[in-house]
């Protein structure tokens, strides 16, 4: 659909042969592309404006070195500014530094993921930090909301406040804190009903809850798919209750997640956690550099690699890596690899296992494959004969048709798989030739077939 920003920018700068400092005219076109990329990624308009101004200032007069193209330089500046704007390096932990029981207040729009996230935080505090956690639902609005939290508490193995019908949210909040004190809980998580930023009565209610409980953390839970409205939500909740941290949910989707930048800029509060699935263990620290890549359409490569190293069978991976190095890696091995990485989502995972590549994870372009594609690829390979897997060169038109039909895919997909395997083989051969030192010096770019260097990831 859209090319990545890097592709567009190198296009913009193609005609620019000059070296030296970047000037206003050079970067005007580039900034237009940056603006468009940010808007397509759902960064809110006023936030985009500020961002572009910062990038312009920093780009003006920046030296273009021999080794980088002007396009790469602007990308670097954009990426740097974005990471800073998202909070700089490192995750900000939850603040639990008040006398127990520590109240954590969860707020946000309807359906943003507050209840699920409450359960996730409870599980994490209980399992990892050995805290005694009490979950309390103040949601008297949504049908069965209190029951939902109660069931999540059971799943997490933590306590939940007994449900008493007819109590108001503020009454439940008081009861939760009383119970927390009496039964010596370390943390009390207060899950609230979703509310619209323009609903004055409900915004007053959440203010009252906050006053009654003085939470150590007031977490605004936001869906990563949120569009321009992020600004209104961020502003309204921040004004009403003083947001201390943001949780971005549904990062397991394919939204570019520009709302993260909008939220962070409007509230000034750090993004503390991200939700990456419906299960209770799908809670992660926020990594600005990954989300920056995602917003810019470059994929959350580091995240994929990290997940890879957690899920991949180390021995198997090393065996395959050796095969790669020897150049004897065939489609059967590829299928094995697919099976292993279906969980983690990317080919970069295997490459991350190879010596010398670990440091260059961020440059591995071929990420962003979703699981659906991987599963279909596995199906394609399983529809091939032994011979076809060993020597993919024999797969011509009629075989492709048969394989596509057998795997319930299309010839296009078969082609894509073969192309990808081919690219991989080429890459591996280069890798072996270059050796580790060459790699370190020339970077991943040296591995990419020439015409492919600016190719967008899938």
């Amino acid at each position: 659909m859209f090319d990545t920003l890097s592709g567009k920018l190198s296009g913009v700068f193609d005609r620019l042969r000059s070296r030296g400092a970047l000037n206003e005219a050079d970067i005007a076109d580039a900034l237009r592309e940056v603006r468009l990329a940010l808007l397509e990624a759902d960064v809110a308009l006023p936030v985009v404006r500020d961002f572009i101004n910062t990038v312009r200032e920093r780009s003006l007069g920046a030296e273009v070195l021999e080794s980088v193209s002007p396009g790469q330089l602007v990308i670097k500046i954009v990426n740097d500014v974005l990471i800073e704007a998202l909070g700089g390096a490192g995750a900000v932990p939850l603040n639990l530094n008040v006398a127990a029981p520590v109240p954590i207040l969860m707020v946000g729009l309807q359906g943003s993921g507050k209840t699920t996230t409450s359960g996730k935080i409870a599980l994490r505090l209980f399992k990892r930090d050995r805290k005694r956690v009490l979950l309390a639902s103040l949601d008297t609005q949504r049908p069965a909301a209190q029951l939902q939290l109660q069931q999540l508490a059971q799943q997490a193995g933590v306590a939940s406040l007994p449900i008493i019908a007819g109590q108001t949210p503020v009454e439940i909040a008081r009861r939760a804190m009383d119970t927390g004190r009496r039964e010596v809980f370390d943390v009390v998580i207060l899950d609230t009903a979703g509310r619209l930023s323009i609903d004055q009565a409900l915004m007053d209610e959440v203010r009252a809850i906050r006053e009654a409980t003085s939470p150590a953390e007031t977490l605004l839970v936001v869906d990563a798919m949120t569009g321009q409205d992020a600004v209104n939500t961020a502003r309204a909740f921040n004004e009403a209750v003083g947001v201390t941290g943001i949780v971005m949910t549904r990062m397991d989707g394919d939204a570019r997640g520009g709302a993260a930048l909008s939220m962070r800029q409007i509230t000034g509060a750090p993004i503390k956690l991200t939700g990456s699935g419906e299960k209770l263990d799908a809670l992660e620290e926020f990594h600005p550099e990954r989300v920056a890549g995602r917003i810019l359409g470059m994929g959350d490569i580091v995240g994929l690699v990290e997940r890879a190293s957690e899920t991949v069978d180390q021995d198997e991976a090393e065996k395959l890596a050796r095969k790669m190095a020897r150049g004897t890696f065939d489609l059967d091995d590829y299928a094995k690899q697919l099976k292993q990485i279906t969980k983690m989502g990317s080919l970069s995972g295997i490459l991350g296992m190879l010596p010398g590549i670990g440091k260059m994870k961020a440059q591995i372009e071929d990420a962003n494959l979703d699981q659906g594609i991987l599963k279909r690829q596995a199906a394609i390979i399983s529809s091939m004969t032994m011979k076809e897997r060993r020597t993919p060169d024999v797969i011509k038109a009629s075989r492709k048709k048969r394989i596509a039909a057998g795997s319930g895919t299309s010839v296009q997909e078969v082609n894509r798989l073969l192309k990808q395997f081919d690219d991989m083989s080429t890459m591996m051969k280069r890798m072996t030739k270059l050796g580790q030192k060459g790699l370190m010096r020339q970077g991943m770019g040296a591995l990419m077939p020439k015409q492919q260097q600016n190719r967008r990831p899938y």
């Binding site: 397509e40 309807q110 993921g113 949504r142 939902q148 949120t226 321009q228």
Partner: protein
């Protein structure tokens, strides 16, 4: 126009579009429609989630007919609304229940938290009021208390709810519910499903399975596949519609949470890209808060025309 149409939506939209309105007002009071004005207008549309491409498309049309003219605030809003309404009019189509089908099977799908279950509750009320007999199927067997949530909607609206044990196979449940609905001669079978992100192939395959299993009994089922979209969603809604349509042949959309400050401008981009009917809009959390989607009203709300 339906009685009371958009009364609540309008409230929300009036509030939500105040900024847009003020924007247009300040941009266009006593002003020539020049490049700068058009650019600002384009940004106003982007801020309403139309997306840069759709916004620029509309502004280009607008430029062709209005460039250089001296226009008043009202004129700009009116003709911009007309421009947008022209895009939306073809997709403003109510969901028509075929009474001959007994039951007309409606499968409700969408990403997590968009309002699927609530929308089913709202539809159930509408059908009851029209003298139709709906049966609701608690096909979200995954999320905590999802079954109980739908059961509450059943008791609020007087509709029968068919449910199974937690983590039961949703397809099997849907199959049994269809058998029952056929036996009892119910008019509509509303099947709730667990929210799922469109990029999760295994979860999307589950939906395809529900459809396959229903078709064993009635090859024409489901007769409608409703994709529920949250109005706060940005550009990702396009991907959602694309993938859900590809994999489960969506027949129409419902846009929820239009009572908030989000303007749902993505609907315009969706209408241009897919032309899928928009059957209804959600304007609140109560059973009565579902309205037909009407192009001109929506467009006027979007640009803040009075």
């Amino acid at each position: 126009m339906a009685l009371g149409f958009f009364s609540r939506l309008k409230e929300g939209l009036t509030r939500s579009t105040q900024k847009l309105t003020t924007g247009i007002t300040t941009v266009f009071t006593r002003r020539k429609l020049d490049d700068a004005a058009l650019e600002e207008l384009e940004e106003l549309l982007i801020a309403a989630d139309l997306g840069p491409a759709a916004a620029s498309h509309i502004i280009e049309e607008f430029r062709r007919s209005k460039f250089g003219k001296d226009v008043t605030d009202e004129e700009v809003k009116q003709s911009l609304a007309e421009e947008i309404a022209a895009i939306l009019a073809p997709v403003a189509q109510p969901l028509v229940i075929d009474r001959a089908l007994r039951p007309h099977v409606v499968l409700v799908v969408g990403v997590n938290g968009t309002g699927k279950t609530t929308t089913i509750g709202k539809l159930a009320l509408q059908y009851q009021q029209q003298g139709l007999r709906p049966i609701l199927v608690a096909g979200d067997t995954f999320r905590a208390a999802a079954v109980e949530q739908l059961q509450v909607w059943g008791s609020r609206t007087g509709a029968v709810v068919v449910s199974g044990p937690p983590n039961a196979d949703a397809a099997g449940l849907a199959y049994d519910a269809l058998t029952r609905a056929r036996n009892e001669g119910a008019d509509v079978l509303l099947i709730d499903t667990a929210g799922r992100l469109h990029n999760k192939a295994a979860l999307m395959e589950e939906l395809a399975k529900i459809i396959r299993v229903l078709q064993k009994q009635d090859p024409t089922a489901p007769h409608s596949v409703l994709l529920v979209l949250d109005a706060t969603t940005g550009q990702n809604a396009i991907e959602q519609v694309r993938v859900f349509s590809d994999l489960v042949a969506v027949t129409g959309l419902v846009v929820t949470k239009l009572d908030g400050s989000a303007r749902g401008g993505i609907v315009v981009a969706l209408a241009q890209a897919f032309g899928l009917p928009v059957h209804a809009v959600g304007v609140g959390e109560q059973a009565g808060d579902l309205r037909p989607f009407e192009a001109m009203d929506f467009a006027r709300g979007l640009v803040g025309a009075s």
